[in-house]
Amino acid sequence: MTAASVSQIPLAYVLIFGALLFGLGLYGALLRTNAVRILMSIELMLNAANINLVAFNQYLSPGYVNGQIFSIFVITVAAAEAAVGLAIILEIVRRRNIVDIDKINLLKW
Protein backbone atom coordinates (compact mmCIF):
# COMPACT_ATOMS: atom_id res chain seq x y z
CA MET A 1 0.00 0.00 0.00
CA THR A 2 2.48 2.61 1.10
CA ALA A 3 5.51 1.26 -0.69
CA ALA A 4 3.71 1.53 -4.01
CA SER A 5 3.02 5.20 -3.59
CA VAL A 6 6.35 6.01 -2.00
CA SER A 7 8.44 4.66 -4.83
CA GLN A 8 6.67 7.10 -7.14
CA ILE A 9 8.15 10.22 -5.57
CA PRO A 10 11.95 10.43 -5.74
CA LEU A 11 13.60 10.88 -2.37
CA ALA A 12 15.53 13.88 -3.69
CA TYR A 13 12.34 15.88 -4.21
CA VAL A 14 11.27 15.41 -0.63
CA LEU A 15 14.72 16.26 0.71
CA ILE A 16 14.93 19.41 -1.39
CA PHE A 17 11.51 20.48 -0.20
CA GLY A 18 12.52 19.89 3.40
CA ALA A 19 15.72 21.87 2.92
CA LEU A 20 13.87 24.81 1.33
CA LEU A 21 11.33 24.87 4.13
CA PHE A 22 14.08 24.67 6.73
CA GLY A 23 15.93 27.51 5.00
CA LEU A 24 12.86 29.75 5.10
CA GLY A 25 12.34 28.92 8.76
CA LEU A 26 15.99 29.56 9.53
CA TYR A 27 15.81 32.92 7.81
CA GLY A 28 12.75 33.85 9.83
CA ALA A 29 14.26 32.71 13.11
CA LEU A 30 17.52 34.53 12.53
CA LEU A 31 16.49 37.77 10.85
CA ARG A 32 13.02 38.69 12.07
CA THR A 33 12.77 40.46 15.39
CA ASN A 34 9.18 39.77 16.39
CA ALA A 35 9.23 37.12 19.08
CA VAL A 36 5.99 35.43 17.96
CA ARG A 37 7.24 35.28 14.38
CA ILE A 38 10.44 33.66 15.57
CA LEU A 39 8.38 30.98 17.31
CA MET A 40 6.46 30.41 14.08
CA SER A 41 9.72 30.08 12.15
CA ILE A 42 10.95 27.53 14.66
CA GLU A 43 7.77 25.54 14.05
CA LEU A 44 8.54 25.67 10.32
CA MET A 45 12.01 24.25 10.93
CA LEU A 46 10.65 21.48 13.14
CA ASN A 47 8.19 20.58 10.39
CA ALA A 48 10.96 20.41 7.83
CA ALA A 49 12.86 18.06 10.11
CA ASN A 50 9.72 15.94 10.45
CA ILE A 51 9.43 15.69 6.68
CA ASN A 52 12.99 14.45 6.45
CA LEU A 53 12.40 11.90 9.21
CA VAL A 54 9.29 10.52 7.53
CA ALA A 55 10.92 10.48 4.08
CA PHE A 56 13.99 8.59 5.26
CA ASN A 57 11.78 6.20 7.17
CA GLN A 58 9.66 5.44 4.13
CA TYR A 59 12.56 5.09 1.71
CA LEU A 60 15.19 3.33 3.81
CA SER A 61 13.09 1.08 6.01
CA PRO A 62 9.59 0.72 4.66
CA GLY A 63 7.40 -1.43 6.81
CA TYR A 64 8.92 0.02 9.96
CA VAL A 65 7.76 3.19 11.65
CA ASN A 66 10.76 4.34 13.69
CA GLY A 67 11.09 7.65 11.87
CA GLN A 68 7.41 8.37 12.24
CA ILE A 69 7.64 7.75 15.98
CA PHE A 70 10.53 10.19 16.18
CA SER A 71 8.31 12.65 14.37
CA ILE A 72 5.57 12.14 16.93
CA PHE A 73 8.00 12.95 19.72
CA VAL A 74 9.18 16.01 17.80
CA ILE A 75 5.56 17.15 17.50
CA THR A 76 5.05 16.62 21.24
CA VAL A 77 8.11 18.63 22.17
CA ALA A 78 7.19 21.33 19.64
CA ALA A 79 3.75 21.72 21.18
CA ALA A 80 5.24 22.01 24.65
CA GLU A 81 7.83 24.48 23.40
CA ALA A 82 5.18 26.60 21.70
CA ALA A 83 3.08 26.71 24.88
CA VAL A 84 5.94 27.73 27.14
CA GLY A 85 7.42 30.13 24.58
CA LEU A 86 4.13 31.91 24.02
CA ALA A 87 3.58 32.12 27.78
CA ILE A 88 6.99 33.75 28.18
CA ILE A 89 6.25 36.18 25.35
CA LEU A 90 2.87 37.06 26.87
CA GLU A 91 4.50 37.73 30.22
CA ILE A 92 7.15 39.96 28.61
CA VAL A 93 4.47 41.87 26.73
CA ARG A 94 2.45 42.27 29.91
CA ARG A 95 5.36 43.58 31.91
CA ARG A 96 7.23 45.72 29.41
CA ASN A 97 4.83 46.05 26.47
CA ILE A 98 7.40 45.14 23.85
CA VAL A 99 7.70 42.15 21.58
CA ASP A 100 10.82 43.11 19.66
CA ILE A 101 13.57 40.79 20.84
CA ASP A 102 16.23 43.36 20.02
CA LYS A 103 14.78 45.51 22.77
CA ILE A 104 14.57 42.71 25.30
CA ASN A 105 18.11 42.96 26.57
CA LEU A 106 17.80 42.61 30.32
CA LEU A 107 17.79 39.32 32.14
CA LYS A 108 15.98 40.76 35.14
CA TRP A 109 13.50 43.62 35.13
Binding site: A3, Y27, G28, M40, S41, A83
Partner: protein, 191 residues
Protein backbone atom coordinates in the same frame (compact mmCIF):
# COMPACT_ATOMS: atom_id res chain seq x y z
CA UNK B 1 22.32 10.72 -5.03
CA UNK B 2 20.51 11.09 -8.30
CA UNK B 3 17.89 13.60 -9.20
CA UNK B 4 15.54 11.83 -11.59
CA UNK B 5 12.79 13.67 -13.43
CA UNK B 6 9.67 11.73 -12.65
CA UNK B 7 6.26 12.84 -13.82
CA UNK B 8 3.30 10.98 -12.46
CA UNK B 9 0.29 11.70 -10.35
CA UNK B 10 2.10 11.32 -7.02
CA UNK B 11 4.90 13.63 -8.02
CA UNK B 12 2.41 16.11 -9.41
CA UNK B 13 0.45 16.25 -6.19
CA UNK B 14 3.64 16.35 -4.16
CA UNK B 15 4.83 19.30 -6.22
CA UNK B 16 1.53 21.08 -5.77
CA UNK B 17 1.50 20.60 -2.00
CA UNK B 18 5.16 21.54 -1.75
CA UNK B 19 4.52 24.71 -3.73
CA UNK B 20 1.60 25.65 -1.48
CA UNK B 21 3.67 24.96 1.61
CA UNK B 22 6.66 26.95 0.38
CA UNK B 23 4.62 29.97 -0.73
CA UNK B 24 2.76 29.97 2.59
CA UNK B 25 6.03 29.56 4.50
CA UNK B 26 7.44 32.51 2.59
CA UNK B 27 4.40 34.51 3.65
CA UNK B 28 4.88 33.40 7.25
CA UNK B 29 8.36 34.82 7.20
CA UNK B 30 7.72 38.00 5.24
CA UNK B 31 4.10 39.07 5.73
CA UNK B 32 3.80 42.44 7.39
CA UNK B 33 0.80 41.48 9.51
CA UNK B 34 1.53 38.87 12.10
CA UNK B 35 -2.07 37.62 12.16
CA UNK B 36 -1.85 36.81 8.46
CA UNK B 37 1.44 35.08 9.11
CA UNK B 38 -0.28 32.90 11.72
CA UNK B 39 -2.99 31.86 9.27
CA UNK B 40 -0.42 31.14 6.58
CA UNK B 41 1.34 28.98 9.15
CA UNK B 42 -1.86 26.92 9.43
CA UNK B 43 -1.82 26.54 5.64
CA UNK B 44 1.77 25.30 5.78
CA UNK B 45 0.79 22.71 8.36
CA UNK B 46 -2.15 21.45 6.33
CA UNK B 47 -0.02 21.18 3.19
CA UNK B 48 2.61 19.25 5.13
CA UNK B 49 -0.11 16.94 6.42
CA UNK B 50 -0.98 16.24 2.78
CA UNK B 51 2.65 15.45 2.05
CA UNK B 52 2.71 13.06 5.00
CA UNK B 53 -0.31 11.34 3.47
CA UNK B 54 1.51 11.04 0.15
CA UNK B 55 4.49 9.55 1.95
CA UNK B 56 2.28 6.93 3.55
CA UNK B 57 2.27 8.27 7.11
CA UNK B 58 -1.44 8.48 7.75
CA UNK B 59 -1.32 8.72 11.53
CA UNK B 60 1.24 11.48 11.37
CA UNK B 61 -0.89 13.41 8.90
CA UNK B 62 -3.86 13.31 11.27
CA UNK B 63 -1.64 14.25 14.22
CA UNK B 64 -0.22 17.12 12.20
CA UNK B 65 -3.66 18.52 11.51
CA UNK B 66 -4.83 18.03 15.09
CA UNK B 67 -1.79 19.30 16.94
CA UNK B 68 -0.27 21.84 14.59
CA UNK B 69 -3.11 23.21 12.50
CA UNK B 70 -5.51 22.83 15.41
CA UNK B 71 -3.72 23.54 18.64
CA UNK B 72 -0.49 25.38 17.92
CA UNK B 73 -1.95 27.81 15.41
CA UNK B 74 -4.90 28.61 17.67
CA UNK B 75 -2.50 29.12 20.56
CA UNK B 76 -0.38 31.52 18.51
CA UNK B 77 -3.46 33.46 17.41
CA UNK B 78 -4.65 33.64 21.01
CA UNK B 79 -1.26 34.95 22.06
CA UNK B 80 -1.39 37.61 19.35
CA UNK B 81 -4.89 38.62 20.38
CA UNK B 82 -4.13 38.73 24.09
CA UNK B 83 -0.99 40.73 23.71
CA UNK B 84 -2.34 43.08 21.02
CA UNK B 85 1.01 43.09 19.35
CA UNK B 86 1.80 45.62 16.71
CA UNK B 87 4.64 44.92 14.39
CA UNK B 88 7.08 47.76 14.36
CA UNK B 89 7.46 49.28 10.94
CA UNK B 90 11.03 50.14 10.08
CA UNK B 91 10.08 52.34 7.14
CA UNK B 92 8.28 54.79 9.38
CA UNK B 93 11.28 56.29 11.10
CA UNK B 94 12.74 59.07 8.96
CA UNK B 95 13.70 58.78 5.32
CA UNK B 96 16.86 56.78 4.84
CA UNK B 97 18.90 57.05 1.62
CA UNK B 98 17.83 55.18 -1.48
CA UNK B 99 20.24 52.26 -1.17
CA UNK B 100 19.28 51.83 2.44
CA UNK B 101 15.59 51.95 1.52
CA UNK B 102 16.09 49.40 -1.24
CA UNK B 103 17.97 47.20 1.16
CA UNK B 104 15.17 47.49 3.73
CA UNK B 105 12.62 46.72 1.05
CA UNK B 106 14.57 43.70 -0.04
CA UNK B 107 15.00 42.46 3.50
CA UNK B 108 11.74 43.13 5.24
CA UNK B 109 8.98 44.23 2.92
CA UNK B 110 6.24 42.04 1.62
CA UNK B 111 8.10 41.04 -1.51
CA UNK B 112 11.64 40.74 -0.25
CA UNK B 113 13.86 38.38 -2.19
CA UNK B 114 16.28 37.68 0.60
CA UNK B 115 14.31 34.85 2.27
CA UNK B 116 13.99 33.04 -1.04
CA UNK B 117 17.66 33.51 -1.79
CA UNK B 118 18.58 32.33 1.68
CA UNK B 119 16.37 29.24 1.39
CA UNK B 120 17.67 28.35 -2.07
CA UNK B 121 21.30 28.72 -1.01
CA UNK B 122 20.61 26.63 2.08
CA UNK B 123 18.86 23.96 0.02
CA UNK B 124 21.72 23.88 -2.50
CA UNK B 125 24.23 23.50 0.32
CA UNK B 126 22.16 20.68 1.79
CA UNK B 127 21.84 19.06 -1.62
CA UNK B 128 25.60 19.19 -2.03
CA UNK B 129 25.88 17.48 1.31
CA UNK B 130 23.30 14.86 0.32
CA UNK B 131 25.09 14.25 -2.97
CA UNK B 132 28.34 13.47 -1.18
CA UNK B 133 26.76 11.26 1.42
CA UNK B 134 26.80 7.55 0.82
CA UNK B 135 23.55 5.96 1.75
CA UNK B 136 21.76 3.00 0.33
CA UNK B 137 19.20 4.21 -2.14
CA UNK B 138 17.01 1.20 -1.75
CA UNK B 139 15.42 -0.26 1.30
CA UNK B 140 17.71 -1.36 4.10
CA UNK B 141 15.22 -3.61 5.77
CA UNK B 142 12.80 -5.63 3.78
CA UNK B 143 9.45 -5.97 5.41
CA UNK B 144 8.83 -9.67 5.78
CA UNK B 145 6.76 -9.75 8.91
CA UNK B 146 3.76 -11.61 7.74
CA UNK B 147 0.57 -9.82 6.78
CA UNK B 148 0.70 -6.12 6.15
CA UNK B 149 -0.68 -4.14 9.04
CA UNK B 150 -1.91 -0.61 8.90
CA UNK B 151 0.26 2.34 9.69
CA UNK B 152 -1.54 3.25 12.90
CA UNK B 153 -1.41 -0.33 14.14
CA UNK B 154 2.35 -0.46 13.65
CA UNK B 155 2.83 2.89 15.37
CA UNK B 156 0.71 1.86 18.33
CA UNK B 157 2.58 -1.39 18.78
CA UNK B 158 5.98 0.28 18.53
CA UNK B 159 5.00 3.16 20.78
CA UNK B 160 3.89 0.94 23.63
CA UNK B 161 6.67 -1.63 23.42
CA UNK B 162 9.98 -0.31 22.12
CA UNK B 163 9.32 3.33 22.85
CA UNK B 164 7.32 3.00 26.06
CA UNK B 165 9.77 4.95 28.23
CA UNK B 166 10.12 7.89 25.82
CA UNK B 167 6.35 7.88 25.59
CA UNK B 168 6.04 8.31 29.35
CA UNK B 169 8.74 10.97 29.36
CA UNK B 170 6.77 12.83 26.68
CA UNK B 171 3.75 12.87 28.95
CA UNK B 172 5.90 14.37 31.72
CA UNK B 173 7.15 17.02 29.27
CA UNK B 174 3.58 17.90 28.37
CA UNK B 175 2.64 18.16 32.05
CA UNK B 176 5.63 20.40 32.73
CA UNK B 177 4.70 22.60 29.76
CA UNK B 178 1.10 22.80 31.00
CA UNK B 179 2.09 23.78 34.52
CA UNK B 180 4.81 26.11 33.26
CA UNK B 181 2.47 27.94 30.92
CA UNK B 182 -0.13 28.36 33.67
CA UNK B 183 2.45 29.58 36.18
CA UNK B 184 4.02 31.98 33.71
CA UNK B 185 0.83 33.58 32.51
CA UNK B 186 -1.20 33.32 35.71
CA UNK B 187 -2.14 36.50 37.49
CA UNK B 188 0.10 37.21 40.44
CA UNK B 189 -0.60 39.82 43.02
CA UNK B 190 1.97 42.55 42.82
CA UNK B 191 3.21 43.75 46.16
Amino acid sequence: MNFPIVVNLYTLFFGLLALIALVAAYEVVTNRLITHAAFFLALVFVAIAGIFLLLGAEFLAVTQVLVYAGAVTVMIIFAIMMSQLNEIKIEECGRPPLTRRLWLKLVSSQWGLLPLLFAVVFALAMFGLYARAAWPMRALLVDSTGPATTNIELIGAELFTTYAIPFEVASVILLVALVGAIVLTGKEERS
